[in-house]
């Protein structure tokens, strides 16, 4: 509950509920929940068999998860064994993404710093918590989308028909799954499905270790060291002109954006912001150690560091721009300003009587969040364990009522209820 950067989680009836309009799909709750109460929605793997041509769109971090002694050929081979017919390395299109960034620079009236829209959780965080910064987002589609679009058109050029091609994105990212299910800045998602990397990793490893991987498989896509490192921290920022910063970890990003909002001229040209610590190597659906993943990818990048792209990167103006990204402010207490001000005053009054220790026993993550829930009518002051005792002592509520409130938060099925008599 406390891991959430937008305070979107409440505990009700013993379950964690997520307030959808606040959720930015960052996956922090998934990573930190001690009882695995958070589930990441995903498509059924067998959906790939609805298509004749089954494309696995593979990000570099997938390769980085496997021990170094396992070769990329074995890794790709295991995907073929699982049922894919084609494999495309997503990060081979980063030159095209960079081409898009170059088109944006030098344009007058473009607000600075320009903020990368690579990370879908950051995109949503800005919509929800920093709506004043949506104009700063670079509206270039992320590599996974451009990879899907460009590989699909390459396959169509080879004579395949569009409806027999199924594009499946293997992702380390909870927010990516959400962004395919409900896209931001696009009308529909380009890929047909997303596959949870955590789910696939075990299957792949099993196939490889049993020697069942289809042999000598290569992936399409012209991968360079720039591509391999793109999804890691500083992967984008190191290629941008001017002053650029790379920040990873959603709390670091939030802190930085709070400060950025207060200044008119930050003197920074480009911001690479990633929700996860160590960027995509630290994704919610990564099963390996993120530092080892980074180290392996650095090794893979060194091997091909002098490799240059064969063809010229072409940015397709028609397809590769994102639509305008609307702000989605969640902080507003009421659309009527007078009413909002009244609620705000009530919150401040409540904060004077709430204990301020943010114990979360009320089912809200902080005392301030509880105060907000009370003015919205979603909770009562007697939900606070400290105030509840006073209410009981003064006869304002009965013991039964207190019991009903507490089980409404923590559930009536909890074991302690039968143990303590």
């Amino acid at each position: 509950m406390k891991a959430c950067p937008t305070e979107a989680i409440r505990v009700r009836n013993g379950l964690a509920e997520i307030m959808e309009e606040r959720c930015v799909d960052c996956g922090e709750c998934y990573k930190s929940c001690p009882v695995s109460a958070i589930i990441v929605e995903q498509d059924d793997f067998n959906e790939i068999f609805n298509f004749k041509v089954r494309v696995a769109l593979v990000p570099s971090v997938l390769i980085g998860q496997f021990p170094s002694r396992i070769t990329t050929e074995q890794i790709f081979g295991s995907l073929i064994t699982l049922g894919f017919t084609h494999i495309f390395e997503i990060d081979s299109v980063v030159d095209i993404v960079q081409e898009g960034y170059n088109k944006m620079t030098g344009q007058k009236d473009e607000p600075t710093p320009r903020i990368s829209s690579f990370c879908p959780a950051i995109l949503r965080l800005i919509q929800v918590r920093f709506p004043s910064l949506v104009e700063n987002l670079i509206r270039v589609k992320p590599p996974s989308d451009i990879a899907a679009l460009s590989y699909k058109s390459a396959l169509i050029d080879k004579g395949l028909s569009e409806d027999e091609i199924g594009l499946f994105y293997i992702t380390p990212c909870a927010a990516k799954i959400a962004s395919v299910k409900s896209p931001v800045g696009e009308k529909t998602s380009t890929v047909h499905g997303v596959i949870n990397m955590e789910y696939l990793y075990n299957k792949m490893l099993h196939i490889i270790l049993n020697g069942e991987a289809s042999e000598e498989q290569h992936a399409a896509g012209d991968l360079t060291s720039m591509g391999i490192l793109w999804s890691l921290t500083r992967g984008e920022s190191r290629h941008q002109a001017g002053r650029s910063l790379a920040i990873d970890g959603i709390s670091n990003v939030t802190h930085f954006l709070e400060n950025l909002e207060d200044t008119e001229n930050s003197q920074i040209d480009f911001l690479e912001l990633r929700a996860c610590d160590e960027s995509c190597a630290g994704g919610a659906l990564i099963s390996g150690n993120r530092f080892l993943t980074v180290e392996r990818l650095n090794g893979r990048a060194r091997i091909i560091q002098n490799k240059k792209r064969q063809d010229k990167a072409v940015f397709q103006d028609k397809e590769y721009w994102l639509d305008p990204i609307p702000p989605r402010p969640m902080m507003v207490l009421d659309n009527d300003r007078e009413e909002a001000l009244r609620k705000l005053n009530k919150i401040e009054d409540l904060l004077k009587i709430l204990p301020g220790i943010d114990c979360a026993a009320c089912g809200s993550p902080t005392c301030r969040a509880l105060a907000g829930d009370i003015v919205r009518g979603d909770a009562g002051p007697e939900w606070c364990v400290f105030l509840q005792e006073l209410y009981l002592r003064n006869g304002k509520i009965s013991l039964d009522e207190a019991d009903r409130i507490n089980s409404g938060i923590w559930g009536s099925e909890r074991e302690y209820r039968s143990q303590i008599k």
């Binding site: 004043s132 207060d262 402010p329 507003v332 207490l333 300003r337 909002a340 609620k343």
Partner: protein
């Protein structure tokens, strides 16, 4: 809604505390991002001014549904020539303050630019008082 904050002279670490808090409040009141940004920039610059020049300061903020009034009163050297101080690029900031990236002489002009009504008065040797008023209607 009434709020007040104290700022210490030389305290650059906490300069920005009031503007952050006010920003948090305005975001809850359905006020456009552009308007919020004006208020926050003006207040932040004023906070930095107190930290850079004065020995202590007090900020009072009053918010109604139509208007936000901010009053910043400091104890410090005051400003001898206000007209000169309002010019862009003019600064009396010390070398140390400039080395921290402040004192470019844009503070007061920036505050005026981001206020609907801006009043300044100063008594040399005693201190300076600013009043920043912004309408909140969209």
């Amino acid at each position: 809604m009434e709020l007040s904050y104290d700022i210490g002279g030389g305290d650059f670490v906490n300069a920005g505390r009031a503007s952050s808090a006010v920003k948090g409040i305005l975001k809850q009141l359905n006020i456009s991002a552009v308007l919020i940004k004006r208020v926050v920039i003006a207040l932040y610059e004023a906070e930095v001014n107190v930290a850079a020049h004065a020995s202590a300061g007090k900020i009072s903020v009053s918010i109604t549904k139509d208007v936000i009034r901010i009053n910043i009163r400091d104890k410090g050297p005051g400003i001898a020539d206000i007209e000169l101080a309002m010019q862009e690029g003019y600064s009396t900031a010390s070398k140390e303050v400039r080395e921290m990236g402040f004192g470019a002489g844009m503070g007061l002009p920036n505050i005026r630019k981001n206020s609907d009504t801006f009043n300044i008065s100063s008594t040399p040797g005693e201190g300076t008082e600013l009043e920043i008023i912004n309408r909140l209607s969209n």
